[in-house]
Symmetry: C2
Subunit: 169 residues, 2 copies
């Protein structure tokens, strides 16, 4: 049942020292193409980074990017900010979420590395042109940890009926 599938996805930050076959990476990106986007513009591109030097550089863009060092594959998800001026961030987020879930379906682990604060460094490392804004970097690998789910806010605090402030229950 695919509800459990949604609930059992975790952010994975420790990975086995094991390469991922190209065919598996391609399968994941192939599925990501089916994410929804505003007016079906699909303004996303994916850059698969396996080179250890490039991953090392990506892992240093900020202090939470360290999983990109150990993961065998980094996937930079970038969006065309000209083609999709208003919604490039959400379009790109959808493709990224599809990458994470496709990986989960195939037994791989991922973590979403924030990219929005570091466009300059990421453009330099990956050769991304100005019209593409890097929105996320996914660290991808075979999981070497089984983290418990992080605590979540109770539904009562975040869900309302008809208007803000009116409890759903």
């Amino acid at each position: 049942m695919c509800i459990d599938f949604l609930l059992t996805r975790r952010s994975i930050r420790k990975f086995e020292k094991k390469d991922i076959p190209d065919s598996v990476v391609k399968k994941i990106l192939d599925i990501a193409r089916y994410a929804p986007s505003a007016r079906n513009r699909q303004p996303w591109i994916f850059i698969v980074v396996k080179d250890p030097e490039a991953r090392e550089k990506l892992s240093n863009i900020h202090k939470w990017a360290y999983p990109l060092r150990e993961a065998p594959v980094a996937i930079v998800v970038a969006c065309n900010n000209v083609e999709s001026r208003v919604s490039y961030q959400v379009d790109c987020a959808n493709a990224t979420m599809y990458i994470m879930l496709a990986a989960h379906a195939l037994g791989l682990g991922t973590v979403w590395i924030q990219a929005l604060r570091n466009p300059r460094e990421i453009r330099e490392i990956t050769g991304l042109p100005e019209q593409y804004t890097p929105v996320a970097i996914i660290a991808l690998g075979y999981p070497a940890e089984k983290p418990e789910p992080k605590p979540r806010k109770p539904l009562d605090e975040i869900a309302f009926r008809e208007r803000y402030g009116e409890k759903l229950s």
Copy 2:
């Protein structure tokens, strides 16, 4: 297999005239809590709008919002732009994607209605305070259509190896 589950989600714009039990709406939002967010801040809130007058108003915010009129439920997904200043759009997109997939898992249909251009109107209709930015509105209902998948760009055009422009295959 949950890969098919990802591939078979469609945007649904025609809905049966049939109400959705509160318990089902709550189940969907309960699952949405498990979407990933930057530093697990979960800056999202959900406003469930069933009132036909309010849905009529929401359906008029722009010309692609019409499915909110026919769908029995609209869910406004908004994000705290103070708590999550840089990543509120992508955090909110993740929760929205989880709503769409949870609905799909339960046999319901959804379409993502763009909200980013119309914060003022949506705040007025739902009483959302300034620190919450409406990022998406989901039209939710039992599907009354079975659309074919929309065309997707070929992987070769959008996927690169190591640097932008270097083909993956």
